[in-house]
């Protein structure tokens, strides 16, 4: 069964040459034509993901990977093309950054857990497990602003792993935390995959993509340059990088 079906998806962002962000600017320059620079981040991207499959997305910075993930998760809207996602999706995006720094670990778990679709009771019941997975039991009552960035990211991943429903979307996972935490993440990923979860993961790590992904696609300037097995795409990505 196909759980994600993407057809000719396109997304561009308008970068105004003179940005108007305020009512004052809109009023002052009402009669002046606005000029924009169009940045086509994704142009006609099509692919499918089958249930239970792990698909990797590779590409250099600015190739549209994160935008694609955000569209899959419903955070950005595509400009054109169609997108069908037939199972609940749990995103793990930019997780190391910008939680509520004033709140302690426990409250951040509750906040992001409920935002990711856990019920309040589930979040409460899995609190100990989440903190244990992150290895942060001792720091549960400490405000997040005193955490190191690695600690904050570990907490975030632990919540998301617990909140996962069906499809898991991972942005640069396995890139955070120390060796031990990464090993736990990999084990967790294997467990989820074995239970039949579909996984979409973005990574620059050749080893991750070639070991974990059934299939992968390489994005280049907003289009799919290569589709193939994890190893093939990782190899192609390595070749392109060394060609530069």
């Amino acid at each position: 069964m196909t759980v994600i079906e993407v057809r000719q998806l396109a997304k561009s962002f308008l970068i105004p040459s003179a940005k108007r962000e305020t009512l004052r600017e809109h009023a002052l320059h009402f009669f002046r034509r606005r000029s924009f620079e169009r940045l086509d981040v994704l142009r006609s991207v099509s692919f499918e993901v089958a249930a239970g499959e792990t698909i990797g997305i590779m590409g250099r910075n600015g190739s549209g990977k994160s935008t694609l993930l955000k569209i899959l998760c419903g955070i950005y809207r595509p400009d054109s093309g169609s997108l069908h996602v037939r199972a609940p999706i749990t995103p793990i995006l930019e997780l190391g950054l910008g939680w509520n720094p004033e709140l302690d670990g426990v409250d951040n778990v509750m906040l992001i857990g409920t935002a990711m679709g856990m019920s309040l009771r589930q979040a409460r019941e899995s609190l100990d497990e989440i903190l244990a997975f992150a290895g942060l039991e001792r720091f549960a009552g400490m405000p997040l602003k005193h955490y190191s960035s690695g600690m904050a990211a570990r907490l975030a991943y632990s919540v998301a792993f617990k909140a996962v429903r069906d499809i898991l979307v991972l942005d640069e996972i396995f890139a955070v935390g120390d060796q031990a935490f990464r090993a736990r993440c990999e084990a967790k990923y294997r467990e989820l995959s074995a239970r039949g979860h579909t996984v979409v993961l973005v990574s620059h790590d050749l080893r991750i993509v070639s070991t974990f992904c059934d299939r992968a696609l390489l994005l280049d300037c907003g289009t799919i340059a290569t589709v193939g097995s994890g190893e093939e795409v990782a190899e192609e990505y390595r070749r392109r990088l060394s060609a530069v």
Binding site: L9, F13, E21, T22, L23, R24, H26, K70, L72, C73, G74, I75, Y76, R77, P78, D79, S80, G81, S82, L83, H84, V85, R86, A87, P88, I89, T90, P91, L93, E94, L95, L97, G98, W99, N100, E102, L103, D107, M110, L111, I112, T114, A115, M116, G117, M118, S119, L120, R121, A123, A163, R165
Partner: protein
């Protein structure tokens, strides 16, 4: 245009998330201490005592005016604070919008909680005070007052829904809104009695939503009367219209909120 662009998302426990947002907001505001909680309750109550003492010196001979002034000031304070926090609610909680997909109106509604707590404490304090000086309104009066508060919440929610998404596009909206509320303080008959304005202009003052709420609340709490049925119908319709307009603007603009952060 894109078709079926809304992916399925995990169902959200709306009440759980709302409660978590309200609780953590409260906690970071008052640092989660017992003293903090007492302070949250004490602030409006103390404010009431201060205003009452000052006004009993200045307006000693006009107790009606004094009570009316206090009702007006507190209701206005609710309007000012809640619309201010509502306006920035999406921007302040942007870190959630870019990480997960959930109905974003939850953020707007949760941002109104602190103003609601303050208003509730005031309402209780004021009713207790009225009872203490032997002017307690009847059960019907209290019920009507609660109805006005509920409608006021609806109005404020409408304003906040609209302004929260518009603020992401027009980053000086908060400055504009500050000026509007500054002027609005004088458009609503808070420090002056409505009677000093010629009757034919009243209709215009009533177009500013806080005016009817303040006037009706004074009627049931201070004067011991009731506004007419027609006046009630108009208020309900106005509150529903403001809320519907706010919700429509929110619906139109909220889907790309994460892109405008």
């Amino acid at each position: 245009m894109s078709e079926a662009a809304t992916p399925m998302v995990s169902r959200i426990d709306v009440r759980g998330m709302l409660w978590t947002l309200v609780r953590t907001d409260f906690k970071s505001r008052y640092h989660g201490t017992l003293g903090g909680f007492v302070w949250a309750l004490l602030k409006p109550a103390l404010m009431f005592v201060v205003l009452m003492s000052v006004f009993s010196l200045i307006f000693a001979s006009t107790p009606h005016y004094r009570l009316n002034l206090i009702v007006g000031l507190f209701l206005w304070d609710f309007f000012g604070e809640s619309t201010r926090t509502g306006l920035t609610s999406l921007q302040v909680k942007g870190f959630l919008l870019t990480k997960a997909r959930f109905p974003s109106w939850i953020l707007v509604v949760a941002s109104l909680s602190n103003a609601c707590i303050t208003l509730s404490v005031f309402a209780v304090t004021f009713l207790v005070y009225l009872a203490a000086i032997g002017r307690a309104p009847g059960a019907a009066g209290v019920a009507f007052f609660l109805l006005y508060l509920a409608l006021f919440f609806l109005i404020v929610a409408g304003f906040s829904l609209a302004s929260s998404v518009l603020f992401l596009r027009y980053r000086d909206l908060n400055q504009v809104w500050e000026v509007v509320t500054q002027a609005g303080f004088f458009i609503a008959p808070i420090i002056y009695p409505l009677d000093i304005i010629p009757e034919r202009y009243h209709i215009y003052l009533y177009l500013w939503p806080p005016t009817p709420v303040i006037q009706f609340s004074r009627t049931v709490l201070v004067d011991g009367g009731f506004p007419t049925l027609k006046a009630h119908v108009l208020l309900v319709v106005a509150a529903a219209a403001v809320f519907a307009a706010g919700a429509a603007i929110f619906r139109a603009y909220s889907s790309d909120a994460a892109e405008n952060l």
